[in-house]
Symmetry: C2
Subunit: 415 residues, 2 copies
Amino acid sequence: MIQCPRGTRDFLPDEMEKRRCYENILRGVAHTFGFREIETPIFEEAELFILRSGPNVLKELYNFKDKGDRELALRPEMTAPAIRLFVNNMSNEPKPIKIFYFGQCFRYERPQSGRYREFFQFGAEVIGSATPETDAEIIAMAASMIKALGLKDYKMRIGHIGVLRQKIADAGVPKERTAEVLQKLDKKMYDEARPLLESMDVASDVIDDIFKFTETVGDTSVLEEVPGEAGDYLRQVVRYLSAMGVDNVEIDLGVVRGLDYYTGMVFEAEAPALGAEKQICGGGSYTLSELFGGEKVFSTGFAVGFDRILLAMEKEGIVYQRKGIDAYVLLVTDDVRLKAFEIVSKLRAAGISADADIMGRKMAKSLKFASTVCARYAVIVGAKELEEDSVTLRDMHTGEQKAVKLEDLADTIKG
Amino acid sequence: MIQCPRGTRDFLPDEMEKRRCYENILRGVAHTFGFREIETPIFEEAELFILRSGPNVLKELYNFKDKGDRELALRPEMTAPAIRLFVNNMSNEPKPIKIFYFGQCFRYERPQSGRYREFFQFGAEVIGSATPETDAEIIAMAASMIKALGLKDYKMRIGHIGVLRQKIADAGVPKERTAEVLQKLDKKMYDEARPLLESMDVASDVIDDIFKFTETVGDTSVLEEVPGEAGDYLRQVVRYLSAMGVDNVEIDLGVVRGLDYYTGMVFEAEAPALGAEKQICGGGSYTLSELFGGEKVFSTGFAVGFDRILLAMEKEGIVYQRKGIDAYVLLVTDDVRLKAFEIVSKLRAAGISADADIMGRKMAKSLKFASTVCARYAVIVGAKELEEDSVTLRDMHTGEQKAVKLEDLADTIKG
């Protein structure tokens, strides 16, 4: 028996209905924030992702040559494709450009809880604006999305990678080794970061200063101790967030993010319920367009790990209620079968989800099937009632039955 | 500059908004018919598609080996994955199972008008039922979808491949050469079909009979001349269709479809406006599950070429009206900037799509940008008006302005 490939999933109707509902909640929030949707291809030239993330990304890519010998890769994320789309098609449009996207991404890695080879990302970018308001908008939207999904236990941490990078550069760390240092700081592994920095001849007091910076963690009041531009900038971001009703954020100047292209504010949201793989959302301000042949343009964006956030919701006991269909049409006797399809068809045309037996089942079996498909009503069609242009409408929850004229049926079901 | 790979497309916001709208119309029709959505992975084991379509399909597949040496392929269609999903996960569920899906498919072929390497398909399957009602449901849903999209000039043709296959087998055509013969008949190339059949020692009167059958074309009255089971069956299908208000169908016993797994009724819809690539929809009844290791189960399904049907709509002059945002918030002076974000935020929380300047623009420039994003209203925030807890609401179409209390703003915009 052929199975779906390792690390990928089939989504059955119950699961899919839930996912579409939550996906549309995210889409709805994006619309209220004035973002518009885009879509890019499932695969891109592999070069695009190497430019964004470095050649190491190849190890995790689904890359392949097509029949025309092009080196392609299934997208591992959608920021690079979105910025490529901007450079190719939208660079002359009025700024700011606010776009979002939702879809499959692919990473060849060992599947584990909440990590799949085919996974789903929701992301958004504001392109062409580099202001505290811009960053606040992005953080506020991320917060609104998490809230709209109903997740309760989560934490948002805001940092500023620009300052940290500057400090590390000023300390004399060679550019090509910055990532290595940031990685240790990201995980707060100071006992490993210290000998590493010492091996690069960084003085002890400079190391202390770097560590102290990344340990600046707390509510927004800790920003009072952060001097300079970055402090001013983040204070502004926080003021806008506060005006927008987003107060439950934490400042954590140790938020590092993985990638070279971040330039200023960075942020992450995590759901502690998920344990080791707790990050559900991350983003920040960056420039990428110049890497793809465009002009340098400042952007701020974020991505939500859709599978992870759903897992976090599940762990919080958030239950999705299946909608079911509105009406299932049953036949008392087989001679009204054609009439039943006429009725079903009229209900559907009125926007009602309706179904009828197509397998020649008798009434009792059909009634059972109506329960299986979670019908709200059963419409019982009998020859005698039809003589008076009526059917019997049965409320499937209460079991209550009443005669309804055919002409009133759609309205009665719609309530 | 990196472009999207040949034969793939970027969908910019205007195009994407339109596509999502039409996609959701299809989804809505499927729901009214009692179908539920599923989703399968973007890639599958290549074997799955070879089992469905034969080894020739490899020539058009995006197939590749993953890092674990699995032979994978991007899906070229979604019927095989849907039936695999059924065999793996749903074979014990109560029948009939009514499912639909929408997503990207991939075929390595020369891109041309309406044909892309990455294209979008909408499809539906009824699994586990083999009755005229089942086939009628599927045809009626396809017709409802085309109608719901607003396409006017299209033709639906219904045939029965079962009978034709039987006739060809009875004539002594070897099984492995059936496809070759059907291909000629599909294109009504009788002058090439005749020598081909003669070369297989098929008698002249038998050839005439086969040709006559495939030339049975016309309104449903031509079924009166079709004897036997197939005639009875299609007459039943047509009666159900008629009960469901679907009368504009043509009978064409020359409808062949390309694939081996069709067993009975087959149908196609075409939009003449598209010229040579005019087919927008096709399907029929089939069995596939036994090929994938399951029990033999009868199904009926169809797929809509989403890109093609959109192209047909475009050629008919159907224009999509961009929705735009509800409100754009403007500042009279910069000191009310924080307040503006508070207002924007409250509108968004009320479900209104709202935006404000994040680039430090002055009023006149912002008003222009409000037009760019097709705002219905401009909300003008001035220090003086704020003293009375008011803002000025400007209707962007009429230019009409009025003072509105902040507490009434959301309701006024919602109308």
